[in-house]
Symmetry: D3
């Protein structure tokens, strides 16, 4: 009943929405989405300063086996972000510069992988951004079936093919395709509000006053004492 | 019986002693203090090369809730270091660039947090140094009481308000306020002794000779063999 | 029966082979060796961009005690890599800039340590490359016996004295001395083949075609669907 | 856009199918389902020998807050299994004997929780089976909203309300409601085949012969040597 | 300045208060104390069903070294609980049946150790209850100084000599000596209230009604839907 | 160069020595061996009270693949202990009751596995003792080559085929075949000495007196104070 499939056609979100979400950044989009959608913090960037946003092409792979990453390249389109998961935990280096070369040729803009990567010096030099659970040179086989473009769970977060993946120095965030435009609008509203707050905080206004927390603190029984 | 309080006034150490300890650095101060006081190594800098030393303003917070960090800003003074802990383990991103903006306006020089932070790209750009357990964009609520300027345990180390916190690329160290001047003096003695040792080791003198370890090795039964 | 020994003389591999393996890099050598020999990914570089290869001088130490590292300096020769393990897990900072100064004076080119290091800012400035399990300023004693140049297990990998240790941004790899020349030859063959593959992948040739995986995917029952 | 909801009505699977899956056990059902559906091994039973199978009622909760578990009790029906997750990692003891008493009164047959539980001695005495990530007495607040009967990710596995959850000493397994009957049939086929295999293996027939692996081993290049 | 001391005389709490806290159990006492004082959940019992409460005699030890546990025996009195910590993380088996025999002879009723223990089969047979971070036979030396009856941090919790330590299947809890009588009174109030709640929940009354949570849920925006 | 082999003939230790080591137990043998040889504490028994000792038959397997365990059965002899490792970390359930049935038919007396096992309820019922890193029902494939009876590293400990493996509630210990008789003799000497010590400690003699530690404590600068 459980079939291994490569789904060749997926619906992708509006590119302008995608690019707007990337500009807003992971932390803002996460708040705008109602504090859901964050890929777990074990997924870390191998570089500093990279920001990507794109439709997810998803891979579900046997641990220690990168056959399905190779199979996934063909269904990627320019602007996509590849999201790789394994069916049980693994830190093996399933991805390196040859695969990055191939993905770059397809226009893929980044990789999120709940496993290991290798050739990280080359990947940094190439400017191919990666967010991974581990760096490991441990080689893998190409022997077991898996799937491409099925729903996957990446570091505790459900990612469906075509969802918007945003990744920056704070980590990785997933927005369901259907919610993307709405979340973008909320992100922009949020960013606008933050600019004003930032200015006032920089001027020395206290957050407890700016956000009106004094009453809450009192109600929660927090007392101010000198000791 | 357990009250939630914000202690508004704390005793702070002598600023010259604080600055001397910062100049000595975490590893030296740790040795000078008798190899105690180190905050556990899970607390890592989000930047390279930053060094801070200052009196601790401490926060004890419910996990997933940053209300008490907001409450703490008001009691900070220029030169302070904010030390944030949670009542149970959490990697949530309790702190970001808006709070850093507010702390900077108060003259706070850095953050040590046994939880997560976000907006790390912004924090690096602002030059606000942070030592944390995790980087995570996971948003938090502002709903539960906690305390400011009570004794806290940060990554296994007791930190009392007004203790000297020193942080650099090696991690984070805490010196009780009452011991600070004494530890500084011992740190300086130590640094003076190290300069001489460094020179001799660079000249090729062996540590086993410099430190007189040959006798100890023999006494412990360590044999030299050729095989 | 279990003796603590310092083995003063070990057989070292051919320097040209060592340097060839360093040029090939950890990931390539690991594949060439048949996907064995990798030190576990918990060992990470404290710097970016460093590459070292050299004969292993090994240390087996009591946790929280760096006496045997001092004892090991004497038996090191120019070009060696020091490999330090503890008899039970420890993150203590057993190694810092004074030991690095001493090792540099002996011509040692790097350290691999399944424990903690400190003075990392200094080590980076000195250009002494280190791969470690942790950064920690936790000081250690010099009180317990151990051994130098005996077989050790480092992050799950057996390392014998005189084995070739290769370390770069991908981690650390160990090649038995007797296999080194053979693995180098296979590494070079592999590198030659990769250049061609890289070019074709950059041209847009798919890996599934380049590596002939379509038949395997079909045989494994992976179906292509549109949905 | 992200709403907090309590979905009061969910579709439940056929009780006979559910009970058949429970009788087959986690390991068999997992194989029958095509080796998918397993909740990660960090979720462990607090007792030995318990086996439960039932429709999942799911809870998504703020960490350190058990308000939504209380809210979930009302929508449970006899035979259900409660599945509790938090929006970020937590080991807090969100569940104890009072909640178990309440669930037992509703006919709920067990709890799967990706967080902590407490009162474990009482829970064992009551015979209320629990699978959890941690045992911890850390108390929680009742202050933050969450949801009941929405899709959740539990230790890396997507669980939808009404899916069949099977739990025994091997861990926890989830079968989508739509697949349950089919997986049960395959489980029974598998069990029938295993009885025969067990008998032959007990008679000393080797697995390599029984499963015909000798050819595969030869093809993979595994050589038999005496040394 | 940092001295290693054995403090031979400590103030102990009222034995009746201690025994009352033990009867209330870890979870109840933790709630009564205001949800503070819990030793982290990495400390687990090696047996089931044991409950102990007693004044803490504390040990701060070098990792991999059990000299100070031996030194601590002399200052223990009947009814005490020994609490052992190390100055950096260790899983070594610092404690076994010989030490348990010695402690039993002194009337010590249990051990809490943030490190490893061994001879666990013997310890279970002897009925000497232990809560530890690990089970490990790894032997230790007796070579480094430490302290007895100084404040220690055990799995994140400050424990002062003479504090009341309560331990059961839920873990370990510490109540400051000065608060013990007050916390006991609150624990008893709590237990009385729970008996009534338990009965009503067993009768099918819902927690959301019993605790009056419906208004809070509505105020937090949690909506009830059928779908 | 790296071949996958099944070594069909190994040298086994003297059965009387093996049985003597089993009777001495892991903790005693570990001390007798000079505090080396312990398999790391992440390997835990799935049952209580089992004690086994036998020659190691070793397996090196691809993660998520149990083909080589099947291949190993044939080379096992009555009294052997199977030791299974993977070439990179894995918690997959590579072993269950069918394999245990097959091993039992060959006379194998236990399993040590640095990965996961399943069917643990059945394994306990069968009385087939297992020490493992994890319990997990995650199924595995039979697709990748590995080796049998080659040196392996199990949880940080080198194990060679034919070494004596001893396992009990304290964990797992490995004694090189050549050292077994000598270690047994030392174990017996140790056990004899412990009986006397146990009696004296039970009589209230202090360890600091029995082991003569008072002088050491004084020399290390540990002071006795009243406070």
């Amino acid at each position: 009943m459980h079939e291994h499939v490569v789904v060749t056609k997926i619906d992708r979100p509006d590119p302008e929405v995608v690019s707007g979400l990337g500009a807003a950044g992971v932390a803002t989009v996460h708040e705008a989405a109602g504090r859901i959608g964050l890929v777990g913090p074990r997924i870390r960037p191998i570089q500093q300063g990279a920001v990507v946003a794109g439709p997810a092409v998803t891979v579900s792979s046997h641990p220690g086996d990168n056959l399905m990453i190779h199979a996934a390249v063909e269904v990627c389109r320019p602007g996509d972000v590849l999201v790789v998961t394994t069916t049980s935990p693994s830190t093996d280096g399933m991805f390196g510069e040859l695969l990055a070369t191939s993905l770059t040729a397809r226009g893929v803009i980044g990789l999120v992988i709940d496993a290991g990567v290798r050739d990280v010096a080359d990947l940094r030099t190439m400017g191919f951004p990666v967010w991974s659970k581990a760096v490991s040179a441990q080689g893998t086989v190409k022997a077991s079936p898996g799937s491409v473009n099925v729903p996957v769970v990446c570091a505790g977060q459900l990612v469906e093919p075509g969802d918007v993946v945003i990744a920056d120095d704070d980590g990785v965030m997933c927005v369901p395709r259907a919610d993307a435009a709405d979340v973008l609008e909320r992100s922009r509203t949020r960013l606008a509000g933050e600019a004003d707050k930032r200015e006032r905080l920089a001027d020395g206004v206290l957050g407890v006053d700016l956000y009106g927390m004094r009453e809450l603190l009192a109600k929660l029984g927090v007392r101010y004492v000198e000791r």
